[in-house]
């Protein structure tokens, strides 16, 4: 039984198959990376899996439970969490509040007792806050916990998104370019965090342009071009595949080692 299984997934926009017949599966504690040139459909694939777009064909299962076309919030309740390529941080809230929002699925939906400020709410707030602080500490954001997210640096925001995703205690974590725009030190930090999270048993699905990062941490790598799977295998297998080299050169990219901002 795989953690996340994707079978024949596809969607089209105006006649173009943005994602076409993609199949793969991931295991707990493993890092599964998806790479490919710009416009290959990586983010679209993420949006399909996480329920932001509605799948046209194929299926997604989590631990053999059919979750195709479920809403993002329903998927979150089933243990999926994700980050976004273009920073979807709650900019007007403090860093701590951002992470506390991440714990939403574990909080009781009791609007009335929230309004009345019953002791249960205070207890819940305390627990969520403690957990969120622990995560902020883990991601070296403890000293900016009370700051408004809008005032944080880019690298901090990238880590904040990961902290928020982790706050839901996910079984499977989707990371969309977590190191994009980060300097080498920050990239190394994120690298370390990903490995650490995976080691705690979370299955990780990673989209990343930084080849050094991908090749260094991944258990398996899937190459996507024009919405289709080109090859799937271990980092070594993929790096040595002539098809991959050709695909990348074909799109005018200088080399596999290229990093993108």
């Amino acid at each position: 039984m795989s953690l996340l299984a994707v079978k024949g997934l596809g969607i089209g926009f105006g006649g173009i198959r943005a994602v076409d017949n993609v199949t793969f599966s991931t295991e707990p504690g493993k890092i599964f990376s998806i790479i490919g040139p710009n416009g290959a459909g990586k983010t679209t694939l993420f949006n399909l899996i996480s329920g932001v777009y509605r799948t046209e064909s194929g299926s997604v299962t989590i631990l053999d439970e059919e979750v195709t076309r479920l809403s993002p919030e329903a998927l979150a309740a089933r243990g999926m969490a994700r980050t976004f390529q273009n920073l979807q941080v709650f900019f007007r809230m403090s860093a701590l509040d951002n992470v506390m929002v991440g714990a939403h699925v574990h909080e009781a939906p009791r609007g009335l007792s929230h309004l009345l400020g019953l002791p249960s709410t205070a207890r819940e707030n305390r627990q969520t806050r403690d957990e969120a602080m622990a995560l902020l500490t883990r991601l070296r954001l403890a000293d900016v916990a009370e700051r408004t997210a809008g005032n944080l640096s880019y690298g901090q925001l990238k880590r904040l998104e990961i902290a928020r995703a982790l706050a839901s205690r996910p079984k499977i974590l989707l990371l969309d370019e977590p190191a994009a725009g980060c300097n080498p030190t920050e990239t190394a930090e994120i690298d370390e965090i990903i490995v650490e999270v995976a080691r705690s048993g979370v299955g990780i699905l990673l989209v990343e342009h930084d080849m050094k990062l991908v090749m260094g941490v991944s258990d398996r790598v899937l190459v996507l071009t024009q919405g289709r799977v080109l090859i799937e295998g271990t980092p070594a297998e993929v790096a040595n595949s002539p098809a991959v080299i050709e695909a990348y050169l074909g799109t005018g990219l200088p080399s596999l080692e290229a990093t993108h901002a």
């Binding site: 983010t43 949006n47 932001v52 273009n86 979807q88």
Partner: protein, 291 residues
């Protein structure tokens, strides 16, 4: 039966044409600057009132009309310079509140400069109704419909063919990029306010012989024009026109066939219904969230 239907329809189209033009005015400013200008109805008022008072002062009608359009355009530029431009980076809802303040100011000035009475203009081609398949139609209604059509055509041409029109579109698409290619975006925004004001004024002049004018007519028109704009799809000029005509038709057909007491209610129910089926309006493009 047909005569009755035609009568209701003509009534709806005439009423709707004003909503449509107000909606079009909204769209021009919205597209260029992202501001929803709730003082749009006041331009209609200025058009009507200035013409009425100029004619009363002995100015010939054609000259009075030109004067009214010019006054409205200047007021439009003034509104932009004095109220919108200083708050350029404010959030959309703050800008809306500013335009509501602007509407209050314009109404306040109108009540001082003019008066608080109702006024009318004579029909441009007399007030004798013409018979069309049993429905009786005022010649001025044809002026309103024709005028609206011509304005829509001219506005489309302006955007498609003239340098200034293209510059407005460029500014709307990307202000920074437009500046980089040498467009003076501040001037462009002023132009779009002036254009929008002029269009509103023309509408005000055309309908005054039918609907009369008054220093407070703007409030209701802004409300209906905004509804028309959203019904048609925000940002699409043709959508605003379609939305306005539909809203007018809805009101007058409900008044004729269902209940005159609740006609506005039916119009709003239809509108909410349309929005639930098409959340971006009739001609609005579907906005996908980029993540």
């Amino acid at each position: 039966m047909l005569a009755q239907f035609l009568q209701f329809t003509m009534s709806g189209l005439t009423v709707g044409a004003v909503y449509a033009v107000v909606g079009l005015g909204f769209t021009i400013i919205y597209n260029a600057s992202g501001v929803l200008n709730f003082a749009q109805g006041e331009f209609v008022m200025i058009g009507g009132m200035v013409t009425v008072f100029a004619v009363a002062a002995g100015v010939p009608l054609p000259l009075a009309i030109l004067l009214a359009i010019a006054v409205a355009a200047i007021v439009g530029i003034g509104l932009h310079r004095l109220a919108i431009e200083p708050a350029r980076d404010a959030s959309p809802v703050v800008l809306i509140i500013i335009t509501i303040g602007g509407a209050l100011v314009l109404r306040g000035i109108a009540q001082l400069v003019f008066d608080k009475q109702l006024h009318k203009l004579p029909g441009f081609s007399g007030d004798t109704p013409v018979n069309f398949l049993g429905a009786s139609i005022l010649p001025q209604a044809l002026w309103v419909l024709g005028g609206t059509a011509i304005m829509v055509a001219l506005v489309s041409l302006f955007f498609a063919k003239t340098m200034i029109g293209k510059a407005v579109l460029a500014t709307a698409a990307n202000r920074l990029a437009a500046q980089l290619v040498g467009v003076n975006t501040s001037v462009i925004l002023a132009i779009s306010f002036a254009l929008s004001a002029a269009i509103g004024a023309i509408a005000g002049i055309l309908v005054t012989p039918i609907t009369f004018t008054h220093y407070e007519v703007g409030t209701m028109l802004a409300l209906k024009g905004f509804a028309a704009l959203v019904l048609g799809g925000l940002g699409n000029p043709m959508g605003a026109i379609l939305g306005g005509l539909l809203l007018g038709l809805c009101e007058q057909l409900s008044a004729g066939y269902i209940s005159s007491t609740y006609k506005d209610a039916f119009a709003f129910i239809v509108m909410i219904g349309v929005l639930l089926v098409r959340p971006s309006g009739l001609l609005g493009s579907k906005l996908a969230e980029r993540v």
